[in-house]
Amino acid sequence: MTQLVKINVTVNGVPYEREVEPRLLLSDFIRHDLKLTGTHVGCEHGLCGACTILFDGQSVRSCIMFAVMADGHKIETVESLGTPEHLHPLQEAFMEKHALQCGFCTPGFLMTLVDYLGDNKNPTDEEIREAIDGNYCRCTGYENIVEAVKLAAKKMAAHS
């Protein structure tokens, strides 16, 4: 067993102090140590995007980062967005446009998009496709996701 390293991470506003192996992937830390299983792991090599989280506000792939790299940083996961009873406008838009089927990739899309829509209030179809090009979905063919993003942009503009 390798020596454990103490880290301090704030996840969804809650501070955690944990001891971890240096090689522990950030995705595994979030899912198995913190039990925040909304973040999914689809490929473990940084391509599918299912594990996307916000790291100091930026969307990143948690499966190609180590937990120790998060020491002193702030993380948001899909659990930070909304609850089943009170969904975030982006989540509402996904539901209304049938932008998810099996839902395994969905948290990654949501976290990519909350970051993206923060900077791009009114994206075109092409811009949306570019924005989600790093997130794989096997069920939906992406079209309804594009529609959901457009709807979400409207909803979020109305909320702000």
Partner: protein
Amino acid sequence: MAERVFHKSILRNEDPQILAGKAQYLDDIELPGMLYAAFKRSDYAHARLKSIDVSEAKALPGVIGVYTAEDFGDLVKPGPLQVPPPTAIKGATYSSRTLMPIAKDKVRYSGEPVAVVIAESRYIAEDACDYIYPDFEPLDAVIDLEKALQPGATLVHEDLPSNEAAHVVQERGNYAEAAAKADVVIKKKIYVDRVAAAALENRGIVINWDEKAQMMTIWCGTQSPITLRNATASRMGLFENQVRVITPFTGGGFGPKINTSMPDDVLLTELAVRLNRPIKWYEDRRENFLATTSERDQVHYAEIALTKDGKILGFKDVFYHNSGAYDPYMMTVPLNTQTHTVSNYNIPNFYTEITMVFTNEMVVTPVRGAGRPQGVFVMERMIDAAARELKMDVAEIRRVNLIQPDAYPVSTGIIGQDFVEGVLDSGDYPTALAKVMSMIDYKKFREEIQPKARAEGKHLGIGICTFTEGTGVGPYEGAKITVGGNGKVSVATGVATQGQAHYTSFAQIAAEQLGVEVKDVKVITGDTGAFAWGAGTFASRGATVAGTAIHLAAVKVKDKALKLASKILETPESELELVGGYVQVADIPGKKISLGELASMANPMRGTFPPGAEPGLEAVAYYGPPYGATGAGCMAMILDVDAETMKPKIERLVIVHDCGIPINPMVVEGQVHGGIQMGIGNAFFEKVFYDETGQLLTASFMDYLFPQATDMPPKIEMGHIETPSPLNPLGIKGVGEAGAIPTPAAFTQALEDALYDTGVEIMESNLSPSKVYSYVMKAKGA
């Protein structure tokens, strides 16, 4: 009258939970004392396993045990067949060589497990695999389907005389006679290569053995929970009700998750009992490519015989189907190819011959489409070749050969995967073709858009093709519907869900009968503790077969509710209706009783219980179709190809689709979208590639190109035709695989049309820019 909820786009019940990250998928399950498994897999595709040294791995801290074939005794034998052999087909021959749970003396595909490690963490288990040293004596790998059948070829299974796994010939009419009479006979060799299902969630399993209760619970994202339970129980000497299989939320299935008696479930159930601790195994992506089944490679020698005005007289298809190293799923895939080759065309003479071949590659079992895309690809490519030869328009040659709407039911004379003769139950193929042509404005494209583009040096091509989708096959499914004292409705069925919206569409079917809100129907799929009978989710059959069973059960519950309410409200049943969670008297507002109260009264605690009565507002029903319902459609696609880089851009994609009466049109469209995405991947991006030594060279998403958002057309334009299936009371047909079936054929046709000036002919799917380039160079004689 209650508001109709069937045949309506209703938002999904399951979405809030999934969207909030609260849905439980397999790898989210953690149990106290849980151990983790990892498999040591063979690096060789074909080798003798002479010995295996696990001592170093065993000594690692945190490793509980390392197990090889010799630790499993009698368990190390070929597993059960998942699908029966094709004995229903006259003259069929087959050799069944099913999967071994762990390699004993020989490995037959790269990725075959040779040892399993159980450790305190997944990290440690995977570490330990690197300290296991198998001693292999490499053998030549059998990769090429035709070479595999030559005399003297290396044998995958040395107890067999050859690598032939099965052979089936089916014929209707007489092709040879038809060909003799034909004006034109065209012969082509056609390839379809291998693709992965690549569900975003990998395979996995969690097992808990409760020694005190003598009860095993298995969580698994299987498409066939009942089969998994039954196989586990009989293997372990338990009763079926001592094993409960629960399918949690599952991140896509697309076929391979149907498989049971795989190394993981066989070995890990045994170890969970032996170690008396829960065990979890969750595949990584590389393992998923290596050791989860995949599909599609076939080599076809096809012949089409026509009159000079394009009428098809006969079709012959002799093909080789790659079974991989074992054949646990028998002939489902190539039989589907046979039944879907002639699909919706009126071809009186049809000869089709399968030779299924063992190779040193991963086992082949269905992947979304399951043999159908190959059949459609072969037929559509041959019709295109004929159109070219006869200088006919590609749409016209299809039109003159389609089965007409007054012909149903149409017997095909070909026995399918369900071992009954295929019958087309209903449809309207000419309308689908006409609708697609009008939606894509075919005439304008040919007369104005394409000539103009060509004059400008652009390479714009169109593909148009038709297809059928055999769906909703037997044997049967069942459902149990219970109204609770809370007034809500529980629906339990044996099929499992991998994202198809069953929690909503099944709820709609029940709600339609019981007059409750869709959100008040809780659907349980794939929990053998809730419903213990059924076959599984495959062949686009969940909605059709289980859906019909749910409808029948709901009708029974409705009858019970009316009967009981009639007594209580002292009103004849004919004057009662179920609305808003109540049984009410149609014309008297306020004279009503809630379903919840009725449910409580249906279970009397005291007093008398009439003979023959059944307690509870509850009913079970089963449904088994005589044969499958056949969906169909037509697709057109316009491609703009960069003639230098060979990069295609899909400018337009139109599909007209018929799945009978859609339960939830929104969900149906979503299914078609997803299928098309996979079809586009199969046509141009995706390819599972084995080199000549049987090494898989595409075991990550860097090499296996998954279609991304920018690879898709800007919009999938969809039209619907609804020809109700006469086979079930709801008129429904399946839809799950529809999009994947015609897409490679339409794509390849459009590609050829776009590159018209090169004269290229592409009789192959799973293309890439470099592949297309090499075809073009060949056509140019370079």
